[in-house]
Amino acid sequence: MSVVPGAGPARRGWLTDLRRIMVFTGKRLIALVLTVLVGVYLTILIANMGGQVDDLRLIQIRSNVSEQVRADPTFFDLPSEERQDIIERRVQMEVERRSLDQPFFVRSIDYLQGAMLLDLGRAEEMHSDRGARDVYWIIVERLPATLLLFGTANLLVFFVSVWAALWLSRRYGSGTDRAVIALAPSSAAPGWFYGIFLILFFAFVIPVLPAGGMVDIPPPESSWEYGLSVMRHMILPVVAMFLSSIFISIYSWRTFFLIHSSEDYVEMARAKGLPSALIERRYILRPTLSPIITSFALMLIGLWSGAIILEQVFNWPGLGTLLFQAIGHRDTPVIIGSVVIFAYLLALTVFLLDILYAILDPRVRVGIEGDNR
């Protein structure tokens, strides 16, 4: 997408480039929107099991209403017929409230339309922690907790692993290198697995850290104490995630850097006696920046989904738990809301990466006919 040398005047060349960029951008945007559209509609279908969930929800509504009426002393000595009538009326109200009286296809199109316009709508069963019914608030309230925990852990893992991998790539075959390779399979266990042992050890055997939650009980009233309390509660989950990812991450980045370290131009730089820091920065990192940035960007948007089991283990009020609850409640708008934001974020990231590639790597260009090659 930078300028392709052409034969015509500079202005004409600039316009041609602009046209190519616009065509390229338009095609990418259309493709991405279509991808989001298909992804979201598939989510709607899956979340509702093609409409079969309606039957399930009707049964649940009927059961809940029946039990509520039975438990309510107000209806204590009501004749059965009138009791059944009350049940039916209340069921009907719940059905109307959830729009279950409309065909699933109609509702699915409504869901899709709202989702594509980023109108997340209202939840059917759930509330935000503060009591709002809007899906937007339900998600936004959980976002800071997820970003804080997973952002810290993932950024830590990312930068430590890239830095350590670069360092190890210069010490191929050393004791540390072999140790990292040996430890790489430890990442087969997920973070929550380490979390259970960390909780057992640091919360119960040597009780120096909390077993779960985001903040002390009750939360400190001073902001400083609150912040410190949150940090303290983050230690175990961050360590759990760090332990579960760090070795495999170092190992994969180390292998990646090793391949690039053996390129001819790197060998040439070494032969010329350039300092190793310069070689790393200019001859290894620069050409590999695109995949690093891609990995970084995908890691960032990966934060969105949180981690269901880890959040459950640490009782962390994040988006993973929220999605888990939404699936449990079969609250379609919340499920769709979570997915549609992720889909848009992913599409946006992919789109931005396309542009970033061209900026970072001079070899990436928009082709003469506007194709990306």
Partner: protein, 840 residues
């Protein structure tokens, strides 16, 4: 690299150290420890026995014992049914537990058929085969092995912890023995009935229409019912059926057993479970619910075809169509016999829910509903070794739905908290379900002659009257347009009568108490909730809520009027046609409690403005937020309403309420509420032993603090912290000669002390012969303090014949609904036979 790693490790260590050191509570007003001088403080103290209660969310039962031992949590509101967690708790020095019995497990049998739509045979269409299932299953094995001891056997459609079971203890015991484990009898009946259906037993397998008889066991997979399902499936396979096991979660299973037509044959037996969160003092509608099509409109219930006698008894019991309690008992007893013959359900066990708490903590837990269902926990919660301090509760969910006092969250763990913030006029006994007065001085229940109502406590009186005329000036309806109550005289020119009149006199100074925000109560706090009851069902009202209409319609079916006869002391009369068997329950259902009118006024303004709605249903219809007085976007709306109310001294329904307001009351109320909001950042104002100090929605934490101006002494309800379940020991001869008399000694104690005579309701005995036939039932005689005696004369013993016999004793207490049973086996031998006692 090494230096950096070292730095990283050191950094993490410093971080941990810093956060551990700095996270110690430093605020001076956080009451963590309390005073160790418990006895000195208890006498003087008012209200709650602890200074602060913190609720937090924790759903992992596996952590329970560890968290209690670590001292971070003290009480778990959720019952534990996991045997591993139970054993861990049992072995812990720092933790102990209460027990609750509100959950029951059963086998739901498919009654359709005998030939189903798919041509297959459904043996459970035959009542005799269903009845035989009672003999096939070993309930003791299920309770002790499959539930790991966290259950007690149950055979009857009445929960073993509920008063009706105690009332019917003799019949219940006889039926339990009749339907005890007897696999040979079960096999005999099943074979006879299967052959009558056209089945043939070939190589140990039942064949019908040249195909093996297939049974689908729908087994719940989330809990111990998975083991129960497997156990029952194994038993049925042993009887020659081909059993297909389908393991399903609650949702998956509901589509099949509730959602599908039983005649479709998608299931034959389902491992069901039912929960009661309160002690139900009248379970007479169980027969209608569990055995007749009147139970629910779902296809399974519509397939029930009860015996006409059972159907009639169930219907009459549900309608409370009986004249005396004796008649009711007879119907209940007969109903139980017929229900066992029908056996649409095979009751298996009443589960024991373990409610863990720290060993140094005490509180009243409800015998059915546990801690979450207990109304007395706020009044009894305390450290055994000190007064004051902070107690941390854990619950699996908190703040599940928005809190408002009109139609807010009714989730169990939310209401558990809000109950501590208000002070009801009467409170239920956690062990019997009977109500005790809290804010009322006395009550008089007048019932129409012939209406079976019983009185147990002496804080109220019951009067019989041939006719109860409702006074003309009593309020019976609401005129929304005019904004006033409609009197009986206006609505019923010829007058109206009622089946009951409940006259309640509140305690002196009831209206001189203060709300948590410091404002003084008034009659308006009692009247406004009544107005809302009517106004919310008035289509012309801006508060109209369609979801409230059915509730009001039902209410109006039996409501016959109410009036305030005195404001000092506050005395109210309520007229109604609705009857409950216990007079205490009638008072509890009728007596109005106060709600602060000024917080309701904010809600009214917000709903009238179309910004919030009291109920979920209306909120969704208007696409606005469901009102929360404690958190979220509602607070800003309510804050604006408060400003508006303050500016205009707004009084809702001023034509009515104005009569009961003091001078400048509106201004004082709003000023107090504004100060309250400024300090607490919420609008929840109550009058309970605790006030709502802080709400942290995202952190899922709620903090309550002791209300120091609470009027009652702190130890007022402490007698309800331990269920006084009688401990019974029966001793007597092992062998008795024919022609001799025999005497049996019964010791009834509680924690080693004799059980008080006046607390004993009944000590009944049942005498069974070796064939399990009931020969005699009677009552034990009091011999001494805590000692009772059963004397059997020679004729009674002779009637048993020679052989092994059983003396069963049921002890029922007035203090606790759970009866105690004990049995003694003895032999009757011919005269002259050497007995064991003689040989010894």
């Amino acid at each position: 690299m090494r230096k950096l790693l070292l730095l990283l490790v050191v950094g993490v260590f410093i971080l941990i150290l810093a956060s551990v050191l700095f996270s110690r509570p430093s605020s001076e007003d956080t009451p963590d420890a309390g005073s160790a001088d418990a006895d000195a403080d208890l006498g003087e103290r008012r209200g709650a026995l602890v200074d602060e209660v913190v609720f937090t969310q924790e759903s992992d039962a596996g952590k329970v014992a560890g968290l209690i031992e670590a001292g971070s949590h003290h009480v778990f509101a959720q019952g534990v049914t996991n045997t591993t967690a139970y054993h861990r708790l049992r072995d812990s020095q720092q933790a102990t537990y209460e027990e609750a019995y509100g959950t029951s497990s059963e086998l739901t049998l498919n009654p359709a058929g005998p030939e189903l739509a798919n041509g297959e045979l459904n043996p459970f269409a035959v009542k005799a085969i269903r009845e035989a299932m009672n003999w096939l299953v070993n309930r003791r094995h299920i309770a002790e092995e499959l539930y790991g001891g966290l259950a007690v056997p149950r055979a009857l459609p009445v929960n073993t912890a509920f008063p009706d079971y105690a009332r019917l203890a003799d019949t219940a015991r006889a039926l339990e023995l009749e339907y005890g484990h007897n696999p040979d009898r079960a096999r005999r009946v099943i074979r006879e009935e299967m052959e009558a259906l056209g089945g043939t037993l070939e190589n140990g397998r039942w064949i019908y229409n040249d195909r093996p008889v297939r049974l689908i066991a729908l087994i719940r997979s989330e809990d111990a019912r998975k083991r129960v399902g497997d156990y029952v499936a194994n038993l049925l396979e042993d009887e020659g059926f081909r059993v297909e096991r389908q393991y399903r979660t609650a949702e998956e299973a509901s589509r099949i057993w509730i959602g599908s037509d039983p005649a479709g044959g998608r299931w034959h037996v389902y491992t069901g479970s039912w929960i009661s969160t309160v002690i139900n003092r009248d379970v007479s509608d169980n027969f209608s619910f569990y055995y007749t099509p009147r139970g629910r409109p779902d296809p399974l219930w519509q397939a029930y075809d009860p015996d006409p006698e059972l159907d009639e008894i169930a219907d009459r019991l549900q309608r409370r169509d009986y004249a005396t309690s004796e008649e009711r008992q007879e119907m209940m007893a007969r109903g139980m016999e017929l229900a066992m013959k029908d056996s649409a359900r095979i009751w298996l066990v009443d589960q024991t829910n373990i409610l863990p708490h720290a060993a140094n903590v005490e509180l009243a837990a409800d015998l059915a509903g546990g801690v979450a269902g207990s109304r007395l926990w706020p009044y009894t919660l305390r450290f055994r070794d000190r007064v004051g301090g902070r107690i941390v509760f854990a619950a699996p969910s908190l703040l599940t739905e928005p809190w408002n006092p009109v139609a807010g969250s009714n989730w169990l763990f939310d209401t558990m908290i809000t109950r501590a913030l208000s002070d009801d006029a009467v409170l239920p006994d956690p062990f019997t379900g009977l109500y005790w007065p809290q804010r009322i001085q006395e009550a008089e229940v007048t019932v129409q002659a012939g209406v079976p109502v019983e009185q147990t406590h002496d804080w109220l009186s019951v009067v019989r009257s041939e006719s109860i005329q409702v006074p003309e000036d009593a309020w019976i309806d609401w005129d929304g347009e005019a904004g006033r109550f409609i009197t009986v005289g206006e609505k019923h020119e010829d007058g109206v009568t009622a089946r009951t009149r409940t006259r309640v006199r509140y305690e002196d100074g009831y209206l001189e108490r203060r709300w948590h925000d410091g404002s003084t109560m008034s009659v308006a706090d009692v009247v406004l909730p009544w107005i809302l009851t009517f106004a919310r069902a008035d289509e012309e009202s801006s508060l109209f809520d369609p979801s409230h209409v059915p509730l009001l319609e039902v209410f109006q079916r039996h409501f016959r009027g109410w009036r305030i006869t005195s404001t000092d002391p506050l005395t109210i009369e309520i007229y109604s046609d609705q009857i409950y068997p216990d007079a205490e329950t009638i008072v509890a259902q009728r007596v109005p409690s106060a709600q602060p009118w000024h917080t309701l006024a904010l809600g009214i303004l917000a709903e009238r403005g179309g910004e919030l709605a009291f109920s979920s249903d209306k909120a969704d219809r208007l696409e606005v937020d469901w009102m929360s007085l404690v958190a979220g976007p509602s607070l800003n709306v309510l804050k604006r309403a408060l400003e508006l109310g303050r500016e205009n001294d707004f009084v809702p329904y001023a034509d009515v309420l104005g009569e009961y307001l003091g001078e400048d009351e509106a201004r004082e109320r709003y000023t107090a509420l504004a100060d309250w909001y400024a300090q607490r950042n919420h609008f929840w104002v109550g009058d309970g032993p605790f006030y709502l100090h802080a709400v942290y929605p995202v952190e899922r934490t709620v903090v309550l603090r002791r209300y120091e101006d609470f009027p009652d002494p702190a130890d007022k309800w402490l007698r309800f912290t331990r269920p006084r379940i009688p401990e019974v020991n029966l001793d007597g001869p092992m062998m008795v000669h024919m022609g001799d008399e025999a005497s049996f000694r019964l010791d009834i104690t509680f924690e080693g002390e004799p059980y008080p005579e006046d607390a004993i309701d009944e000590v009944q005995y049942l005498l069974f012969d070796g064939d399990g036939q009931l020969h005699r039932k009677g009552k034990a005689a009091l011999a001494a303090n805590g000692q009772w005696r059963i004397d059997l004369d020679s004729d009674e013993l002779a009637a048993l014949g020679t052989g092994a016999n059983s003396l069963e004793v049921a002890v029922t207490s007035r203090d606790v609904a759970l009866p105690a049973f004990v049995s003694h086996a003895f032999g009757t031998v011919p005269a002259g036979t050497a007995t064991l006692e003689q040989e010894l």
